[in-house]
């Protein structure tokens, strides 16, 4: 196709982008909007495989791009790369990007990506060497994926540290290497792009202009693509399956979905949240009187019909899962997909939890099987809560539901009693995922040292406060193992440990659902990267 020959592309993001600088936001909507202009060195394809993007090859141990001591990785830029203003892309830009994100008080949202980076060396114009302070078996944090693209040093030179938010022009219209460049940006409303004249492939992109419109609701977005045909692409349509399928039946568009690492799960509290404990409440000093019993955790899991949950809440955008990690494993527990109320009851009976006073609630040692189940306020989660409560009731467990405003629940304010981290409840539901394809950081979540506690101002991520030295040992091993395959095996083992011990009860593997017009070609929805990652290839299908 010829560059710019297919006219306008209209995309609807009902959560509107609010900035075009991923380093200042970290929100998915912002990263994706920025991904049309800002590009990383490497990114992932829909299968989760890393693709060289602004480089010709991915540096690895095997090809010598990664040093044997795992502390240095050497990237070599493609030849002839130019910014959209015509200047050349150099390794200095890479170095600058690292300095930009790590500058003091800059409020960089992607700081994690540059963790342990001590220097970015620039031996020549096209070569950059990222130096880590310690061995990095997975060195693909910096400059990989839509969260850590390359900024132009010239444009952001005056925007380091506290000055970062004041560079409005740069933040709203970053100069990039991508197929498009920003012509107009209205935060929270609309972004308008035109073709980047300096784009490296002279035949792409096919569209001359892109508009990303924001605002409204998911239903409205779906309607605009599937029913009225006003838009070509709509993002993140978390809607009930029958609504979507009926809209699709109008024949204007198609629904697509992809699965990543986002898993909706119920986390189990291993510490006693009862208020009587005062300041020792929900700390490892007091194991949970009920949930410390593995049989209970297992029975709770068996009573769930994950397939039903997925259908109710996510439709095509969900699939029931028994695992935290998306990698399919032969020996992973898939039995959980079948609801087994009988089995759950039997298990509880065996463990001595019986309904001794006939009130329909099992008890043991004078302690009722009564659980407080909290989550954020969100209609799907409340539906899940309601259904779960019903199933658990059927096995003799009484559940009290609580929902908390999302900004409080996820806010992490140490002063609030209602945060995910404090977990002043028995079970809680939320979703978690990891960036990119490597789960190392994600899996270290469940190590003993990561448990939130009064000592660390409740800042840990191991909200279950589960602690198993064996798991910690595996985590330590993962941290020094190189190579994709060995790492995957280790990760799977850790996943199984978490699931079999009932630390978390994974429910639904949540995918992304989007819709595109029937005459829009080339889209490849991607859960590991920006959905717009290959927008240079998108085109209008002509009949």
């Amino acid at each position: 196709a010829e560059r710019g020959s297919d006219g306008d592309l209209r995309i609807l993001y009902w959560q509107a982008p609010t900035t075009m600088n991923p380093y200042l936001s970290g929100g998915i909507k912002d990263n994706e909007a920025a991904s049309l202009t800002l590009e990383p060195l490497a990114r992932y394809d829909p299968a989760g495989v890393m693709l060289p993007w602004l480089v010709d090859v991915i540096p690895t141990l095997e090809n010598g791009g990664v040093d044997d001591d795992l502390t240095r990785i050497t990237w070599r830029l493609k030849d002839g790369l130019r910014w959209s203003d015509g200047s050349a892309v150099t390794s200095a830009d890479l170095r600058f990007t690292w300095r930009y994100c790590t500058a003091k008080d800059g409020g960089c949202a992607q700081l994690e990506k540059f963790a342990d980076v001590v220097d970015v060396e620039t031996p020549d114009e096209r070569t950059a060497v990222v130096v880590f302070s310690k061995p990095k078996p997975f060195p693909y944090g910096p400059f990989v994926g839509p969260q850590a693209p390359i900024l132009q040093a010239a444009q952001f030179a005056d925007c380091l540290g506290t000055r970062a938010p004041t560079c409005t022009d740069a933040n709203y219209g970053p100069i990039g290497t991508g197929p498009f460049r920003v012509t107009e940006f209205r935060p929270g409303d609309v972004v308008v792009y035109e073709v980047n004249p300096e784009y490296r492939d002279p035949t792409k992109p096919a569209f001359a202009k892109v508009v990303i419109k924001g605002g409204g609701t998911a239903v409205g977005a779906a309607r605009a693509v599937l029913e009225t045909g006003e838009f070509d692409y709509a993002w993140n349509l978390q809607l009930s399956p029958d609504v979507l399928s009926r809209m699709q039946a109008r024949g204007k568009g198609e629904i697509v979905s992809a699965f990543g690492s986002l898993v909706e799960r119920i986390a189990v509290n291993f510490t006693d949240p009862s208020p009587e404990l005062g300041s020792a409440r929900a700390t490892v000093a007091h194991p949970h009187p009920v949930l410390s019993d593995p049989a209970v955790r297992r029975a709770l899991s068996m009573a769930l019909d994950r397939k039903m949950l997925s259908d109710i809440g996510y439709g095509p955008a969900g699939r029931p899962t028994c695992n935290l990690l998306p990698i399919a494993s032969e020996n992973a527990d898939t039995n959980c997909l079948r609801q087994d109320l009988e089995g759950a009851r039997a298990l509880l009976d065996q463990a001595g939890w019986i309904d001794s006073n006939g009130d329909g609630v099992r008890d043991k040692n004078g302690r009722d099987l009564h659980l407080i189940f909290q989550t954020s306020t969100n209609s799907v989660r409340q539906d899940f809560q309601a259904v779960t409560k019903e199933w658990w009731r059927q096995i003799g467990v009484e559940t009290e539901l609580r929902n908390i405003d999302a900004s409080v629940f996820f806010g992490g304010d140490p002063g609030s009693p209602d945060t995910v981290q404090k977990f002043y409840a028995d079970v809680e539901m939320f979703a978690g995922a990891f960036d990119g394809t490597d789960p190392e950081v994600y899996l270290t979540t469940w190590t003993c040292g990561n448990a939130p506690s009064p000592e660390n101002q409740w800042q840990g991520t191991n909200t279950s406060r589960w602690c198993d030295p064996a798991y910690d040992a595996l985590a330590a091993k993962l941290a020094i193992t190189g190579g994709i395959a060995p790492r995957a095996t280790l990760a799977m083992a850790m996943n199984d440990m978490l699931v079999e011990n009932g630390v978390v009860l994974p429910l639904v593997d949540r995918g992304r659902v989007s819709a595109h017009a029937l005459d829009l070609g080339g889209t490849a929805i991607n859960a590991w990267d920006s959905e717009l990652w290959n927008i240079a290839d998108w085109h209008r299908i002509k009949e």
């Binding site: 008080d105 409303d189 304010d413």
Partner: protein
């Protein structure tokens, strides 16, 4: 009259300051966190650093002082700079939205045109329809016209806009495919064709909003007219042989209008607030939409600023209403 005007103006100032204080204090109590919306993959430490970078950690009285200064002095001077090319505000930190990391005032300036287009037009149309309907309903009280008009206006009051809006979309956008359901804020009206487009995309939101406006104002007009029609001077004017049309428009209407004008003026800011819903439905992405997304994102500077600006608007409309009232009814000026 001049005295009266100045007196009203003097009273308006303290009101504004009091309102800003109330608004600021209220938001300060907010438990939410602007970082809560970030994906869970961003660690708490990073979030804490981002928070510091935004200056959220400063004590609230410091932030209030800064905010007041930015709102009252810095932003006007930025505006003057923009108009006259002066450099009053150079190098000073403007009020930054936590969510977009851009100056709040620029955001609002970006959002105003579409809000004004839609809300303003809806209000104009609504009022323009309400006046004749209210007048005729009152003049022919309990006639079929009055019955229908009262019924429809009650319905317009009783059907919430988020319901009527969706109904209209289903009918006009999905079924008939006549009108767009999404408002394009980047559309520049340059020629007849784009004007047509603009009119088309405004049709539905304006219809929803003006239905509400018409409903409310026509009720007020009707009852004010009824009140006046029962007065002695109406009969006295008839006794002089004045025609009914003339009587209605020259005598009764100015009298009835005095109280209605203040309701019309006071309703305008409330319509702005009410437009939040309509803007959400039709993706007009105006000031109302900005407000609601900012509330959801805990973007305090934006929320506070919009709220105070709305309050300012209310105070100004109040003032205008009083002045028009005074102009229409000579008895008012002397308290």
């Amino acid at each position: 009259m001049l005295n009266y005007t100045i007196r009203r103006l003097i009273l308006a100032l303290p009101t504004l300051v009091a309102i800003s204080l109330v608004v600021f204090a209220l938001m300060e109590l907010a438990p939410g966190d602007p970082m809560a919306q970030l994906p869970p993959t961003i660690s708490p430490e990073v979030k804490a650093q981002m928070r510091t970078a935004l200056g959220l950690d400063a004590p609230s009285h410091v932030r209030f002082g800064k905010w007041l200064w930015q709102l009252g002095i810095l932003e006007p001077s930025v505006w003057i700079d923009g108009m006259f090319g002066t450099a009053l505000s150079d190098g000073q930190a403007r009020m930054i939205s936590w969510q977009t990391r851009g100056p709040v005032m620029d955001l609002i300036a970006q959002r105003l045109p579409q809000t004004l287009w839609v809300v303003g037009l809806a209000y104009l149309i609504g009022t323009a329809l309400a006046l004749p309907i209210g007048i005729w309903s009152a003049y022919r009280q309990y006639s079929p016209f009055d019955q229908i008009a009262t019924g429809v206006s009650t319905l317009g009051f009783a059907v919430p806009p988020f319901f009527s809006g969706v109904l209209l979309i289903l009918f006009f956008s999905v079924q008939l495919e006549w009108l767009p359901s999404v408002y394009d804020t980047t559309l520049d009206v340059t020629n007849w064709q784009s004007l047509g487009q603009q009119l088309k995309q405004m049709a539905l939101p304006v219809a929803v909003l003006s239905l509400q406006t018409t409903a409310q104002i026509s009720r007020y007009v009707r009852s004010a007219m009824l009140d006046q029609l029962g007065r002695d001077y109406v009969r006295a004017t008839r006794a002089r042989g004045v025609g009914e049309r003339h009587l209605l428009l020259r005598h009764v209407l100015p009298n009835a209008l005095a109280p209605v004008v203040s309701i019309i003026a006071l309703g305008l800011p409330q319509i702005f607030a009410g437009a939040i819903v309509t803007e959400q439905i039709f993706r007009v992405n105006g000031v109302g939409h900005l407000l609601i997304t900012s509330i959801q994102a805990n973007d305090l500077p934006t929320v506070q600023t919009i709220t105070v600006l709305l309050a300012g608007l209310i105070v100004i409309s109040n003032l205008l209403a009083d002045l028009i009232y005074g102009a229409l009814d000579p008895r008012i000026r002397y308290d």
